[in-house]
Amino acid sequence: MSIIIENVTKYYGSYQALQNINLEIKSGELVALLGPSGSGKTSLLRIIAGLEQAENGNILFNEENYTNKHVKDRNVGFVFQHYALFRNMTIFDNVAYGLKVRPRKIRPSKTAIEQKVTELLQLVKLEGYKDRYPSQLSGGQRQRVALARALAVEPNILLLDEPFGALDAKVRKELRRWLRRLHDEFNVTSVFVTHDQEEAMDVADRVVIMNEGKIEQIGTPEEVYDQPKNPFVYDFLGSVNLFKGKVHQGKLATGNVEIHVPDSEDGESTGYVRAHNFIIERESLETDSIASVIDHIHTIGPIVRIEVIRQDINEPLEIELTKEQYNNLELKKGEIVFVRPKELKVFVDYMAGI
């Protein structure tokens, strides 16, 4: 089922949580709402679910207006960050709940409910836990129950509010892979909220990046990562280095170096360079070679993280090399090297809010 969000605005008192949000989600898509806390992503999700009402705007499911439909009539599956399992019910009863509370006319028979619940518990690999209570399960198990419970009612749309936020790193990684497989199997339109950019990039078909109640960019993970529309998105998706300076005739002057930036407007600007987009050399070969002192070397994992201090303006840069590059260079702490940005994106300063 497709979702269309039209001009949605939401206030909490005088605070504007959402400003004129427009978003279209195609049927069967898995979309991530990504943003820092306070960006309005959870509010938007709750408005889609009907748990909250927008002041303005419309919510359409399959082009039918659902704006004024009560949450219980929307047939959405909602997964909460802290699971929200019914603590007084067994796992079986939790999953069966949505079917049991249906009006008699459309309620499945007892055996049909039992069969459905058993199937779902098998799917989430918790069939042996059906008589336990939520408090007897681990966080990851509880969230799987919550998912099974949401899927039991065969929802039009699956909404997940920071579903893995309360879990430890390893379980989180497992569960998000599992969510992706589950989504591919059920093919239910899904929207999940996260503040973890890695999680969003890893799981979603499309990522919606939100900030201060507005959508900053919508696109596939590759699009938003490789072509960030503005400094916020650039900064939010992974570590980035800033080169503040002035652009004049296609050159960005920063410190005592000049970086070649064709097609850039003149004026106060900031260049953005991702940590892995640097070349480290022993000699100054170009006008954009920045003399720097190696301050720290972190060699854990396949990527080596190097912190250098620019000698001209004494500002730190964060650089990532592969282990192979690092081994070839034989870098040592305290050494003076020349750092050259491989790829640099310039944004004129008036729109840089960071």
Binding site: V71, K72, F80, F86, Y97, V101, A146, R149
Partner: protein, 295 residues
């Protein structure tokens, strides 16, 4: 060695003991503190309780049962039970509604509402009784109106019920508000998203989560309703066999020097109180059991 062995045993059975070690006093201080508490309780609780029963049976079991079976006593017991039967359900409903309103909705003046709910705790019961006399009495604000329709509130059962409700309504709400606050609203939200309506959500999700707290509040409310003297005394008019509740009846008997009879009825009230306590202990044990299962 021994200490080591103990801590290992504690680890396998009850790890809690390990964390308590730091706050554990020496044995001697423990005994002194326990003795003080026991002595105090004996002097101020056990001895008077025994005294009630001794005094009640002073003239023998026959006199005891005769005193209780006396029509005036029976009428007082019956009236007390009627008041309890009306007060408890009304206050239970009010308590749940008030707690629900305060914990599940956001609105202005919430703190003021909570303060209002506490009002009966801070107002002297006698004054509470007087308020109702001034309101419903013959010369009160609503007196003439009620008289027109021939409705008697003061010096009759409705007045006693109203006064009892006023005195005891904070108990259940006070018990439920912190409980429901700690539980939050996400289970209710989950229920709604799964297609359950408001009533089903309350019945299957909210009520089971608060049932022990609710019962605990009802027990406290019940104990206070049975024992309420001040407010009821002002509005009842002390009409024998008509508007005397048990505490009022005891006072009358006592003032007439019928000590055995007075203590006989008092012993009956004490038995009610003890039964209440036993139920309360059971509920506490039950909720403890539940919460330990949750943690």
């Amino acid at each position: 060695m021994l200490a080591n062995h103990n801590s290992v045993a504690a680890e396998t059975n009850k790890p809690v003991i390990l964390t308590r070690n730091a706050t554990k006093e020496p044995k001697s201080i423990q005994w002194i503190l326990i003795s003080i508490v026991l002595l105090f309780l004996t002097l101020f609780l056990v001895v008077p309780l025994i005294a009630i029963f001794v005094k009640a049976f002073e003239k023998g079991a026959d006199a005891y049962f005769a005193a209780i079976a006396h029509p005036d006593s029976m009428s007082a017991i019956k009236l007390t039970l009627i008041v309890v039967l009306i007060t408890l359900p009304l206050n239970a409903i009010f308590g749940v509604v008030a707690a629900w309103t305060i914990t599940k909705y956001e609105f202005k003046g919430k703190n003021f509402l909570i303060t209002l709910i506490d009002l009966p705790f801070s107002v002297s019961p006698v004054i509470a009784g007087l308020i109702f006399v001034l309101l419903f009495g013959l010369h009160g604000a609503l007196g003439p109106l009620l008289q027109n329709y021939d409705i008697k509130v003061i010096f009759s059962i409705p007045g006693i019920v109203i006064a009892s409700i006023f005195i005891t309504f904070p108990f259940i709400a006070r018990e439920l508000i912190p409980l429901m606050q700690s539980q939050g609203t996400s289970e209710e939200e989950a229920s709604l998203t799964l297609g359950a309506g408001g009533f089903k959500t309350f019945w299957y999700v909210t009520l089971p989560n608060i049932k022990w707290g609710l019962l605990y509040g009802v027990i406290l409310c019940n104990a206070r309703t049975i024992g309420e003297f001040g407010a009821v005394s002002v509005v009842s008019g002390h009409i024998r066999g008509m508007t005397n509740t048990m505490p009022l009846h005891i006072e009358i008997l006592y003032n007439e020097y019928q000590f055995s009879a007075a203590f006989a009825v008092a012993s009956l009230m004490s038995i009610f109180a003890i039964i209440t306590l036993v139920i309360k202990i059971f509920i506490e044990w039950k909720t403890d059991f539940k919460s330990s299962k949750v943690s």
